[in-house]
Amino acid sequence: MRVTIRLFARLRDLAGAGELVRDVEGPATVQSVWKGLVAEMPSLGEYERTMSVAVNADYSRMSASVNDGDEVAFLPPVSGG
C-alpha cells in the first residue's frame, strides 16, 4: 500500500523534501512507517524521542494503524506564537 509522508521544519530540511510517497507493507503502523523512513534517512532518527505524529492531519500515536492512501506526518517540537 502507498502512504504520503509529510515532514516539517528541520525534519523537512534534513530529508530535503516536505512530502514523500512511499510503498509500505501492510499491516502498517505510524511506527513502521517511521522505521522505514529512518532506515532510508538515518539523520532523522534523532527526532524519535521529541517529535509528534499525525495521521490525516489529526494528532495520533506511534502505535496507530496506517491504511492505504493515508497521510502520515512527523512533527518536530513546535514553536508557534
Binding site: 509529510r6 516539517f8 521544519a9 528541520r10 523537512r12 530540511d13 521529541t50 517529535m51 509528534s52 499525525a54 492531519a57 489529526d58 494528532y59 506526518a73 512533527l75 518536530p76 517540537p77 513546535v78 514553536s79 508557534g80 506564537g81
Partner: protein, 158 residues
C-alpha cells in the same frame, strides 16, 4: 471573517476585534494579545522569521483550544489569527481577541490561548539572524497531555 485562521496575509487586529465582538451586546470586556517579531533572541541579532505551519492540523489544534476555553470560561468568545511565511521585525505573527461580559475571564482566556498555542499548535519559527539561521523548537506537541494543559491554566489564572 473566520475567527480561527492560519494565513500568509498580514494580520488585522481591529478587523478581528470587530468580528469577535460584533454580535454580542452583553460583553463588557475585550482582551487582546499581539505577538511581534523582535530583533533579538538568545543573544542573536534576528533579521526576520519565517513561519511554517501544518495548516489543517494547526486549525484543528486552534479549534481544540477554543473548545477548552468554552469549558473553562463559558461566557467568552475567542478569535485567533496566526500568520505564516516571512515576517519582518516589528510585524505581528499572532493576534488573539477574547470578549466576555467581564474582564477577568477575557484576560485569563487570552493568556491561556497563547500558552496553549506554544504547546500544541503545529507551527514552527525559522529564525534568520546575522550569521546564520536556525529552526526554533519548543514543546513536543501532545494535546492529550493533561499536565501541560493544567500548566497553561495555572499561568492564565495567576
Amino acid at each position: 471573517m473566520s475567527l480561527l485562521a492560519v494565513t500568509p496575509d498580514p494580520l488585522d487586529l481591529p478587523a478581528l476585534i470587530r468580528s469577535v465582538s460584533g454580535s454580542r451586546a452583553g460583553d463588557g470586556a475585550v482582551a487582546s494579545f499581539v505577538g511581534l517579531v523582535r530583533d533579538h533572541n538568545q543573544g542573536r541579532r534576528v533579521s526576520f522569521l519565517d513561519y511554517e505551519a501544518y495548516e489543517p492540523l494547526a486549525v484543528r489544534a486552534l479549534t481544540r483550544i477554543v473548545d477548552e476555553i468554552a469549558q473553562a470560561w463559558p461566557d467568552t468568545l475567542v478569535g485567533v489569527h496566526h500568520r505564516t511565511g516571512r515576517i519582518e521585525i516589528g510585524e505581528a505573527s499572532v493576534i488573539i481577541v477574547v470578549v466576555s461580559p467581564h474582564r477577568a475571564h477575557a484576560f485569563a482566556a487570552c493568556r491561556y490561548t497563547i500558552e496553549r498555542i506554544k504547546q500544541i499548535v503545529p507551527i514552527w519559527k525559522h529564525e534568520h539572524f546575522e550569521g546564520g539561521d536556525v529552526w526554533l523548537e519548543g514543546a513536543t506537541a501532545d494535546p492529550d497531555d493533561e499536565s501541560a494543559r493544567q500548566t497553561a491554566y495555572r499561568i492564565a489564572c495567576a
